[in-house]
Symmetry: D2
Amino acid sequence: MTFFDSDYTAGAHPKVLDSLCRTNHLHTVGYGCDQYCKSAAELIRKACGCDDARVHLLVGGTQTNATIIDGLLARHEGVLAAESGHIAVHEAGAIEACGHKVLTLPHYEGKVRAEDVKRYIDDFYSDDTYQHMVAPGMLYISFPTEYGTVYTLDELTALSRVCHSANIPLYIDGARLAYGLAAEGNDVTLQDIARLSDLFYIGGTKVGALFGEAVVITSNTLLPHLFPLIKQHGALLAKGRLLGVQFEALFTDNLYMEIGKKAVAQALTIRDTFTSAGFSTAVNSTTNQQFFSLPNTLIDHLKHCNISFEYWGPRGAEQSVVRFVTGWATTNEDLECLADALKSYKR
Amino acid sequence: MTFFDSDYTAGAHPKVLDSLCRTNHLHTVGYGCDQYCKSAAELIRKACGCDDARVHLLVGGTQTNATIIDGLLARHEGVLAAESGHIAVHEAGAIEACGHKVLTLPHYEGKVRAEDVKRYIDDFYSDDTYQHMVAPGMLYISFPTEYGTVYTLDELTALSRVCHSANIPLYIDGARLAYGLAAEGNDVTLQDIARLSDLFYIGGTKVGALFGEAVVITSNTLLPHLFPLIKQHGALLAKGRLLGVQFEALFTDNLYMEIGKKAVAQALTIRDTFTSAGFSTAVNSTTNQQFFSLPNTLIDHLKHCNISFEYWGPRGAEQSVVRFVTGWATTNEDLECLADALKSYKR
Amino acid sequence: MTFFDSDYTAGAHPKVLDSLCRTNHLHTVGYGCDQYCKSAAELIRKACGCDDARVHLLVGGTQTNATIIDGLLARHEGVLAAESGHIAVHEAGAIEACGHKVLTLPHYEGKVRAEDVKRYIDDFYSDDTYQHMVAPGMLYISFPTEYGTVYTLDELTALSRVCHSANIPLYIDGARLAYGLAAEGNDVTLQDIARLSDLFYIGGTKVGALFGEAVVITSNTLLPHLFPLIKQHGALLAKGRLLGVQFEALFTDNLYMEIGKKAVAQALTIRDTFTSAGFSTAVNSTTNQQFFSLPNTLIDHLKHCNISFEYWGPRGAEQSVVRFVTGWATTNEDLECLADALKSYKR
Amino acid sequence: MTFFDSDYTAGAHPKVLDSLCRTNHLHTVGYGCDQYCKSAAELIRKACGCDDARVHLLVGGTQTNATIIDGLLARHEGVLAAESGHIAVHEAGAIEACGHKVLTLPHYEGKVRAEDVKRYIDDFYSDDTYQHMVAPGMLYISFPTEYGTVYTLDELTALSRVCHSANIPLYIDGARLAYGLAAEGNDVTLQDIARLSDLFYIGGTKVGALFGEAVVITSNTLLPHLFPLIKQHGALLAKGRLLGVQFEALFTDNLYMEIGKKAVAQALTIRDTFTSAGFSTAVNSTTNQQFFSLPNTLIDHLKHCNISFEYWGPRGAEQSVVRFVTGWATTNEDLECLADALKSYKR
């Protein structure tokens, strides 16, 4: 079987796993107060170019989003997000379970536009009944988006400006950050992310860790009492050093970025394989997730060839949209299997 | 340094870690729907003697308590617990953050009594203003308790009866279940736990896993829609198979119980070392946590000898209560270090 | 000043106020357990044709919506509503504050369509990731809607069928129920409302009471423990009999329906006044709220004539949408003032 | 029937009701933005000696407590209160439903002691695990307490100092404030309450209003976005002017204080009636609630004489504790009825 279903179907990158094994027998204090978490935080601060950012290592993405969003918002505020955003669609109501409305904006292949954010905020405060509605208290975006697209530096700068003139924080969900930074044509650096947002997270689960996300808070007045919130929202690990050990490995010798580069290169190869065979992409993704509109007969054929990938939905009667994802565990043999399977398809 | 601080200061038992390494490169579906989770569930069902119990593997203890308690209680209900219970003291308000009051009962070395539970419920419903108060909707106990004590089979049976005649579920927090089952003089089996409670969890984090707790639901009408609740409460892992792999290892060849037995035997050795040297226990614990009242000069001496343990609080001017905990990583050399350190103490 | 701003700008209908004055010195038990609440409930049951419905009298509309929706939904569920629905827009996040997402449907002048509800539910359960999303747990509609429109009997029957085949309750917000029942061309009776929904509320605040809404629960298995929920959600009044006294008055001698009829007739007169003068309605409302697109110069002129009404928003450069509302306190003199003001307008 | 059950069994004081009737036909804007609310706020500010206090008029006591406490606390904080405090016992879990734990302190006839508050806070922050517990974020007290007792000026000053040195707000529940200010031997003025607390509320429901509580915020940085919180917590009234009209009446010609004085004098007469007949008080209350330990035979006899009061619980086999409460509606004839009934009792 060859797997392109997702970037969280395999375990940890070998270097990450090695670190876990090498440190397994050591005793440390719990809950993230150990030397590995400190060291990981220091490495992350350096990579971000933010000497005084606070870094917290949390268990997973849903937990991180719930902790951060609930921590940032006042009771009367909601979070602005693309209507396709993960928190708007796929958090099982975890944001609302904390008491907050997700205020949705139109999306353009997963991205929101600064002018839409500005208009939402302006319209809100110019409505006479605004006190009876949910105030926009922060902006959530993802980099890359759920559609595999990335914001340009100009777009990100514009969003940052709109947020800061409205005095609301900009939070970036970086569940797949490495793949965004390695995206074809991307002009945004990790330092830009750190500089333009108020806080963001660097995804580990989908980029070579067993689990774990690193929250980086650059606006230092935000979230003064984060620890108990982390615990309340299920984002705390008793053996917290497991997160430190993993992120230390990921931020040593540029491993995190290398994983991103390799997987994106492989994803673009997949894209070329399909497009040069005459099939078309469904979204202009430049990252490790590629979406295609394929004939249903081809989809059946690929499955027959033991190629596993994700079905997204029908497009007309004879085609469907599917998703192919690469990750640290994707091999060049996997790509060849796919290419071979495609060659053997008779239209 | 010799560590007796807690049972979650080291990584995973070598057999658990081996399983994680051996399966690391495999691809599986996410969120606990893989074959390892299924296999672990099957092994746990067998160990519990409950062929039709539902088993869910969750990330950690706080997450499990929040998910289960919030899932079981109606909006107007609270959870009965010992005033020393983990959910009453050390969950950072995670239960209240879900909207529920913890209704506290007196404790006797960490245990609650069936007659106190009955009286609470009877008094509640005989109060004319009960509709203005929080109804007791379930009972939470821990086995073993936060004081290292265990319920006898008679005590557990009595609690089960009181709950069932009041028609409220009995939930057992088994964060350290293996150590309770291996307790000196214990007459309760895992099957008894399964039979007498409506649901409980088998702790992995403190018994040889990197992390993870196995919820076992024996009352099958409870919690019909658990999956989204698991996600909402931060208890879901994307790479869910990590939980399956670990619990499969723990429930193969009786490993879970063996870890418990070894650690309890070591803890009782520590107890004997102290008591035969003339020091007294602070609690009648029969499990892997031992509490002593020691002279402050001895405490200083042990620290000087690089023995690490937990300080609980002063007892009078010259003594303090301390906690020593054993776990899978405790070695006999650790015990000898402690014994040597104690011998070299000059009163 | 002549007021058409809303139906809650004046106090109580004189008969309601008389009842409050007449009973003011009497002593009764609190919290709605008195004879007036019982008598009001009985009158309401009769009017609804539901001998065994449960009737609860709550303080206000937001409180009622929060209590009922939070009480009906399981933790993993959200409430389906028109994207223009009051709970989706104007409850200040009170529904999300209880932990629930409002799942929005397209609206057609405030109304939702049975086929859209069905499609939402079908699509939800046929999505492979549905467990990661918020399940549709009930349908909220308002009668009349926020746009002053009413469902036909056929439409309401279709919605009821869709809900019941999906096994989710249908809840009707009747904040302005009397005006809906009195709507021009309406073919739905109070008995139909009771028969086709699972529960609904009869609005008092906007129909002649000082405050108060009567919840009628016809599906008797729903909301078994409502009292503490009413208190938790701020919907309980210590001097609960004030609600009973008012609803007793409203449901004596058909007063509730008479208030509706009078105000709707007046609103339709206003509509005719504008349309026969050549101005157009902005919505096809048949109830006590009328929306017009008027030249901005006319709007200024009316204000100059001391006519007060609500501004809704611009329509193009020279026109705006405005709302005129009638209620128990609207007099025929008010209508004449408006007609005179309109006559004196020079285009 | 002669009623001493509670101070909320009758309607409004005649002057309050007159104001409601006199203003009933007027039109005003909704939600508390009208001239009556403004005028009431101004009168209250003057009475409190706080020219720049913010005053908000809310529907009821539970709603007020939930709004204020939820608004003041951060997510990781709880509210300190006497274990007998209303929010700890009789709010149906409304505080926990907002996500906050009530942290209980020992009580002395309903009062908490400054040294206990200080010790709680000191102990909390000196505990190594404090980040895993709920932080004390504010202090809630009631004046008078649920036992009818009042704090002395010294006690209140000490509590204020402890709170302010710990940097947590002091909030006073004044549901029965008038009766506390009129208490026998009381040395605390309304101005003291305003000066020593950060915010408090002046109860209307139990002191002559149909309903309504006036929140007075003297620490002006607190609760900057209160309006939507008021709505979220069910404390907002559409016809908000009803609250303004009532509090305007209560704060005109000293009515609020007069109601308190009269009722307290009557309560003390009741106390004297019982004690001079040889019966004893159960609590040293100096306000409008009086608690007695009476023989069960006397209790039966009084009921026989159509005297209505509240049963609190048994005291031994032959006696029970009962509560007698006076209010604006208590008449001197009521007191005579009681005295006569007592005289006719044969031991």
